[in-house]
Symmetry: C2
Subunit: 452 residues, 2 copies
């Protein structure tokens, strides 16, 4: 690679309102009404764009994920904007930053997802991305007339078919189908419109999608699965992987495994960007960062920590165990297998008690945490980025706006000084920011109007 | 009513891109790329707000409604933005105007609809409305794994339950549930959060909705049904009725019938605003208006007219009939019964041939058309408004931007001079514009956390 264009880090902003620390909304650096304030979201979006981030990233649930009310009422997590509506509004107050929303393949339909993300891509001028999740929360099932969520393997088979149908719908119109010929009165060339006629195991969808092909061809496909099925789906379909790794060796193993799987599927190693979550607590000095962290931890109520730990381990009941004792053996469950392993490994590696574990988890939700000066945080990011563990990071500030402002004012300039991160956008679309190719139009189904 | 505040007309803008005339996109007064241009939509939204309109209104289909490709390729109708994404973007470039989107009760889920419209209401500061449709198009069924659309009666039973569940979800949080007490660490009062636990004929939905109660309590409920089942559902649940009436006596009958039904359901006659569609072709003189109309009609290809007529009559095949002969008897179908009657009545009343009928229909799609000077159009609107036929109108300009600009520059000032329409907004929310009460919070289901 020429010295003039060294490999560049990609940065996403995980836009969990009030910030990633679950008690962070109580901190003076947070804006407690952010979950229902479009002004607050717009301010953060503009701040991320000014720092030249690649994208905003919105997690989502079609439910209140936890229903342990004494704990949940102490968090802002019961209150989240529908992501397409939010990102569509944010697209108007920004110009370049990518906009990635989560959409469930278990509780939605390909036609709805294709329309919503396709429209967001048009409205934003090619900045949309779809974070594909299979959803493993029973509370979500109960909001859609199901008794329980689908089994892990079924969810992933459905997801694979769902993604293929959605891509087929985006390709209904060829890129040059809209001729808009005022003279002849032909608006689109029906020879360049395809009827998908999909009939599969989970879906029967005729099409065509009632929308011109999105500016990016397809919105960028993002995934987070770390299980065997998740890795396989990601290697076959994803373009960005939102990974969860605590330690460098695990991250290196995951990174190498994904790149290997890509080659096995005939894809280029550069076709997928691996971006682990990163929870940074930054100060002008390390001591200041540690003080900030301690301040945040003092705000954490034990109910919240224990409830979150139980939730993240698939509902494991910790009440029979001594909270200052070691973590018991966790049974294999049907939810987030990769996350479960990360949590158990963390407790083992650092010999944490249940209390110490939930204090760590409540902060970063299992993601990689760095507390330190800007140089220390940049060092860690550079180590992972150059050490075969990451193509970039999904940054999870502890609080909005303060925790994020500190990152943009201190860490981003440090990364730029080191030549690791852009100082200006060079492209206009999310694909261009990420260095991903625009997918060519694929001719699926049959043409709407064959030549006469 | 005091003279200082005479009854005011309500105006909605039916935002069908490129305009309501099906060949209007070919006209120099239209912007042919509007279907995929957020800038063009934003310009129209600002124009409507500057004219003090109550609301924008977006029709919708989860399909290309017609698949008669030789005709459809001559229209812009195969290309429409997903309405929540579009309105959410438009909410950021406007401040006061209401934002009404169509959402299907047949091909969506109450939880998705409640989240999307609730979020739009938050983002827009209380300007959202939901146009409830039951969807009667087989092309839509085929995009969602169904062989055919549900029968008329089933659709309406499902719709009634759907609306109740959605309202229940919006009432998950009480208005004052979010206490955000930084000191105690309580974000919301779980004694003011309700779990819906709905179990009905069509839906099982536990709740709660993961969203604070919308600013308007509930987004404004809009409906268009003119059939017996449609009128009954509207009288029970709607707050705005988008009516389709060609002639004053029919409009008066419909208006009186709705107001009667309201009283029978224990609702106030003012609780619902009846707003028929109005297709205005305006000129500085009548002659200029007629010239504009003739210009538009010259752009209409016969394939398009006949195809649209067939579509609007539930797929009736006109090919065996002489296009210059009279309209045959139309069989009762399962789609849009009220619309069918309007079309048949129009042909009979004005003794139209099939060709003359489709020329009329292609223009206004069965809605009330007025071609004339500003004074003539205002006269007709005043006649209906004061004659017990309308509380306002859903305005359907033939083209965007020109056809709408002519309406705002010529007709709106005339209505304002006559004291029939506001010159400034007096309220901030769509409910305030329309004079609709904010629904009180209803305690459905059970409380999340009972008092200790």
């Amino acid at each position: 690679m020429p010295a003039s264009s060294p490999r560049q880090m990609r940065l996403g902003l995980f836009l969990l309102s009030t910030g990633h620390h679950i008690a962070g909304w109580r901190h003076p650096g947070a804006q407690a009404d952010m979950p229902t304030s479009i002004r607050a979201f717009a301010e953060i979006a503009r701040m991320a764009e000014a720092a030249r981030f690649d994208m905003l990233f919105l997690a989502d649930n079609n439910c209140v994920p936890q229903t342990d009310w004494p704990a949940v009422r102490r968090t802002t997590r019961a209150n989240i904007f529908e992501p397409i509506a939010l990102l569509s509004a944010l697209s108007v107050v920004t110009e370049r930053i990518g906009l990635v929303a989560t959409g469930s393949t278990t509780y939605s339909e390909p036609y709805h997802i294709a329309r919503a993300f396709g429209t967001l891509d048009h409205i934003s001028g090619g900045r949309a991305g779809w974070n594909i999740v299979t959803t493993s929360n029973s509370n979500e099932a109960w909001n859609f007339g199901r008794d329980s969520h689908m089994a892990h393997a079924d969810r992933y088979r459905r997801a694979a078919e769902f993604v293929e149908v959605t891509k087929g719908l985006w390709d209904s119109f060829a890129d040059d189908a809209l001729v808009r010929d005022v003279e002849s009165g032909i608006y689109f060339d029906a020879g360049k419109l395809r009827v998908l006629d999909h009939q599969g195991e989970h879906f029967t969808v005729r099409g065509p999608l009632n929308l011109a092909r999105p500016p990016q061809g397809h919105p960028v496909l993002v995934q987070a699965g770390g299980s065997e099925a998740g890795r396989d789906l990601a290697a076959r379909t994803a373009e960005v992987i939102f990974a969860v790794n605590q330690a460098l060796p695990d991250a290196q193993e995951f990174y190498a495994d994904i790149k290997r799987r890509l080659l096995a599927h005939g894809r280029d190693a550069e076709a997928v960007k691996v971006m682990p979550g990163l929870f940074p607590v930054v100060g002008r000095t390390r001591a200041e960062a540690e003080d900030r962290m301690a301040e945040l931890q003092r705000l954490l109520h034990p109910d919240v920590g224990l409830s979150l730990l139980s939730f993240l381990t698939g509902g494991f009941d910790f009440s029979p165990y001594d909270v200052d004792g070691p973590l018991p053996e966790l049974p294999d469950t049907d939810v987030g297998k990769a996350r479960l392993k990360v949590i158990a490994d963390l407790a083992k590696r650092e010999n944490l008690s249940i209390r110490q574990l939930y204090e760590r988890i409540a902060v970063s939700r299992g993601h990689h945490m760095v507390v330190g000066s800007a140089a220390e945080i940049a060092d860690r990011m550079q180590e992972w980025f150059e050490g075969g563990a990451a193509d970039g990071f999904n940054v999870m500030p502890p609080t909005f706006p303060e925790g994020f402002r500190a990152f943009t004012e201190l860490v981003v300039p440090e990364l730029q000084r080191r030549g690791l991160f852009r100082t200006e956008y060079s492209g206009a679309t999310l694909r261009e920011h990420l260095g991903l190719a625009r997918p060519p139009h694929a001719a699926r189904g049959h043409v709407a109007l064959p030549p006469a």
